[in-house]
């Protein structure tokens, strides 16, 4: 058993440093360690045991234990195991040792838990503000329990601006975003450009925060949260909906009914279909190939229509409740869905055949946006980006959930690490999704669609759930709480990790490849922008006049 072997190695090495171990199943290991060994345990898991870094979480546990909680989650993808390394710190200025210098994938997570919970990662290589708005006063951390969800800070400095790093010698700064035709959502990259070559960049995102996590733990109840979770993303919302429900179910040791699991699987794959088709279209649009863009959208349309027929909505499916799903899939819907995927398969086969022979597209995408396997490991890159770099990870197979352990499918892997490989991986995954839906439709058992839950869910339990979104693994972490709501719910969308890899992927490329590379990870900024209490009042007061905007745009960089 790998989990026991791992535990033995850890105990051998850290002995007294480990204060408590929870093994809720063969697939989950919760390791409570003393703050002094946190860094060493993490580095040991990452370097020696070759775990993948999933996410870092900060939580305010002061009402219960008087301490702050920090967790780093690691995944052992070949072994179907998630290991969460948890520690408690106290004091007025809580601190843990930073791990970002050894595990670069933890960079954003550590900055995030300082911004939101106020636990400083001591020794962080780049301890800049990540999430809070520029004018937010220092020392106020909105995810702390004593901060109300509708808190408006009194001393918001509306004039304060983000300070970018110094421009490298011989470069000009090209502002990319917050508004650019290829960015569907606001995010800002400050590119350092020499001629057409990109020498580096700095990212400032998190511009449209919605306070989803705070609302979940203060205002909503367990069964209301899935509706909100779904609105994290406009493309892969169902993923968050399912991932949240699964995390709570795991924490509360509940299992959804069999039929519900099948319905979840089917809808997740329907979502993947539409998302992949949409992405292939967008990638072609960025490369200037609008014909394929339009054709993908035409082929995608029936998927949206059938989703509307089944769920009442093209995109938001309102699928999960804790322990099951909200609605049933009737015979009519199944027949319709079968017809849609049959047609889709035919049409998509034609497109894939045409694209894979097209020299023009290949010339534009080969050796562009290269993510080496080393980078994938270092930054914890996920999904099609990892699979296009020869790293065979897929949460559907590695950490099976819903009905994925009962269907057969292949994990598509390509080795060339570039945008072209990402296109191929996604294009071919469409066929696997079709395969999965077909099997589910024929195997789906009858029965109730939701488990009956009569007892209150237990509190202070932890749950981890991982769902393979079209863009990569979406990772949810839940600590259950009182009053029918969780204490802490942390969402890590795949873009959160993939975006951190972008600066390395675009370095030394030309500006034209930058948009293509950014597009190739299918960035979903709304997914990363889910946290934070937005301060609507002070934001709306900052209205730029035309003159001011103009001077902002025109300002030459020193």
């Amino acid at each position: 058993m790998f989990i026991l072997h791992l535990l033995n190695r850890l105990q051998e090495r850290f002995g007294d440093g480990i204060s408590r171990v929870d093994m809720t199943s063969d697939e989950r290991l919760y390791l409570y360690v003393k703050p002094a060994v946190l860094r060493n345990v993490c580095v040991f898991l990452f370097d020696t045991m070759s775990a993948r870094y999933a996410v870092g979480i900060g939580a305010d546990d002061t009402p219960y234990s008087g301490k702050y909680q920090v967790a780093h989650n690691f995944a052992f993808d070949g072994k179907n195991l998630f290991c969460s390394v948890i520690t408690y710190v106290d004091g007025t200025a809580p601190e843990v040792d930073s791990i970002s210098d050894r595990i670069p994938a933890a960079n954003w997570s550590e900055r995030e838990f300082y911004d939101l919970v106020g636990v400083r990662a001591a020794g962080h290589p780049f301890p800049k503000r990540l999430i809070l708005p520029d004018g937010w006063p220092d020392g106020e951390h909105p995810l702390r329990k004593d901060v109300p969800w509708n808190h408006v800070p009194e001393n918001f400095h509306s004039g304060r601006e983000y300070e970018f790093e110094r421009l490298p010698e011989g470069c000009v700064a090209v502002p990319f975003g917050p508004f650019h035709p290829t960015l569907d959502e606001p995010a800002h990259f400050r590119l350092y450009v020499e001629g057409e070559r990109i020498a580096g960049c700095e990212y400032r995102g998190f511009m449209a925060h919605r306070g989803i996590e705070k609302l979940a733990e203060s205002v909503l109840t367990y069964n209301e949260i899935p509706m909100m979770a779904e609105r994290i993303c406009g493309i892969c919302g169902c993923v968050h909906n399912v991932a949240y429900a699964q995390a709570v179910e795991e924490a509360a040791a509940l299992s959804p009914t069999k039929r519900a699991e099948y319905i979840r699987t089917i809808m997740l794959e329907v979502e993947r279909l539409h998302s992949h088709l949409l992405w292939v279209g967008l990638a072609c649009h960025i490369a200037g190939f609008d014909t394929l863009f339009m054709q993908s959208f035409r082929i995608r349309e029936p998927v949206m229509r059938i989703a509307e027929k089944i769920t009442g909505n093209r995109k938001t499916y309102a699928l999960c409740v804790i322990g099951g799903v909200r609605w049933n899939l009737d015979e009519d819907a199944c027949t319709g869905l079968r017809r849609v995927i049959d047609n889709l398969e035919d049409e998509w086969r034609g497109v894939v055949a045409a694209v894979s022979k097209d020299k023009n597209i290949q010339r534009r995408t080969r050796d562009v946006g290269v993510a080496s396997p080393g980078l994938v490991k270092r930054m914890g890159l996920l999904g099609p980006v990892a699979r296009a770099s020869g790293i065979c990870i897929d949460a559907r197979r590695d950490h099976p959930y819903a009905a994925y352990d009962e269907v057969e499918f292949d994990v598509i892997v390509r080795e060339s690490c570039d945008v072209w490989a990402r296109i191929l991986v996604r294009a071919l995954e469409v066929f696997e999704s079709i395969r999965i839906i077909r099997q589910c439709l024929s195997k789906m058992p009858d029965g109730p669609i939701a488990a009956e839950i009569t007892d209150e869910l237990p509190s202070a339990r932890t749950g981890i759930s991982s769902v393979e979104a079209p863009r990569g693994e979406a990772h949810h972490f839940v600590i259950t709480g009182e009053d029918n709501k969780p204490r802490r719910w942390r969402v890590r969308a795949p873009t959160y990790q993939n975006l951190q890899g972008i600066p390395y992927m675009i370095k030394d490329q030309t500006l034209s490849d930058m948009t293509l590379t950014l597009g190739s990870i299918d960035p979903c900024f709304s997914c990363t922008d889910r946290v934070e209490t937005i301060d609507i009042r002070s934001c709306s007061h900052r209205v730029y006049s035309g003159r001011e905007l103009e001077s902002l745009v025109r300002r030459k960089d020193k």
Partner: protein, 307 residues
């Protein structure tokens, strides 16, 4: 004497008016056909006329480093294209027969230079990126057309436009391989002359947001768009006059109709190519054109040797 001049002016005016009247129609055909290839309904064919009218009716906003030069660039862009209409036979002979190959080359290059001027005058980061791409394209593209015209001049023994535009590019008495090579070269670079995918690199909406044109709106943008539409017709006209001039001498409506038919065929070709390609990167495009320039110089040598 007076009669000749009057005929020249009359023909020139006819060409100009026809160009202005039919260029948006060609654009409309391009859009409709593109839409059809993409399984879309597409805008009505007359949409391009509405677009120009709409833009012309908007407020003239002045943003940018030097508004005077921006206005100048917008006017010059359209004017340079319209002037070319006086130098090419658009079915009714060459209106202004005093011109020669050098004048034509200057006017063609002016169109690209205007793009550079427009970008520098607005002076933002993205327009400067557009300018740098525009210049790179200009340097590698212009020689191709110049050489093609020169091959015809060498074969015909004259720089004057009338002999050059009489099919002499394929040889006066004996067949000239140089002409055939140049036909292929110019055809292969044609998308770049009319700024369409895969060579719309200097504008590239999804990369540098229209580049040099980024800061323009209203009437100035209308002029640029109009010039862009006319450019498609004018370059098709140059191509037809240089490489497929046969039938121009036919009786009035026939020769004239034949000319516009040939232009329409080119427009369709341009549309289909644009709809079936992705945009190249500037370095890929420049490398592609440099090879073609080298081949063209070979063709010029061939022509000089009489092949």
């Amino acid at each position: 004497m007076w009669y000749d001049l009057l005929t020249s002016v009359f023909r020139g005016l006819v060409n100009t008016v026809l160009l202005l009247a039919l260029a948006p129609l060609c654009e409309g055909i391009v859009r409709k056909l593109t839409a059809r290839i993409q399984s879309r309904q597409g805008p009505p064919i007359r949409q391009a006329y509405y677009d120009i009218l709409k833009l012309l009716g908007k407020e003239d906003i002045e943003v940018g480093e030097s508004p005077v030069f921006q206005r100048l660039a917008a006017a010059l862009g359209l004017a340079s294209v319209l002037c070319i209409a006086w130098l090419i036979p658009m079915g009714v002979g060459i209106p202004f027969s005093g011109g020669d190959v050098i004048l034509l080359v200057y006017l063609l290059a002016l169109g690209a230079v205007v793009g550079v001027l427009a970008g520098i005058a607005s002076g933002t980061t993205y327009s400067m990126l557009g300018v740098s791409r525009e210049v790179m394209m200009l340097i590698t593209l212009e020689p191709l057309l110049i050489i093609a015209l020169l091959v015809a001049a060498v074969n015909g023994g004259s720089m004057r436009l009338e002999p050059v535009f009489s099919g002499v590019v394929f040889g006066d008495v004996t067949f000239s391989y140089a002409g055939l090579i140049m036909l292929l070269m110019v055809l292969a670079a044609f998308q770049a002359y009319v700024k369409r995918v895969p060579f719309d690199i200097a504008e590239a909406e999804t990369e540098i947001m229209e580049g040099a044109l980024m800061e323009y709106s209203g009437p100035k943008l209308a002029l640029f768009k109009y010039a862009q539409m006319c450019r498609l017709v004018v370059y098709s006209g140059v191509f037809v006059a240089l490489f497929v001039p046969w039938g121009n001498e036919l009786m009035f409506p026939l020769g004239w109709l034949l000319f516009w038919l040939k232009v329409a065929v080119l427009v369709v070709l341009v549309t289909v190519l644009a709809a079936s390609h992705a945009r190249y990167r500037i370095d890929q495009a420049v490398r592609y054109f440099l090879v073609m320039v080298a081949v063209s110089f070979g063709a010029l040598v061939l022509a000089a040797l009489g092949y």
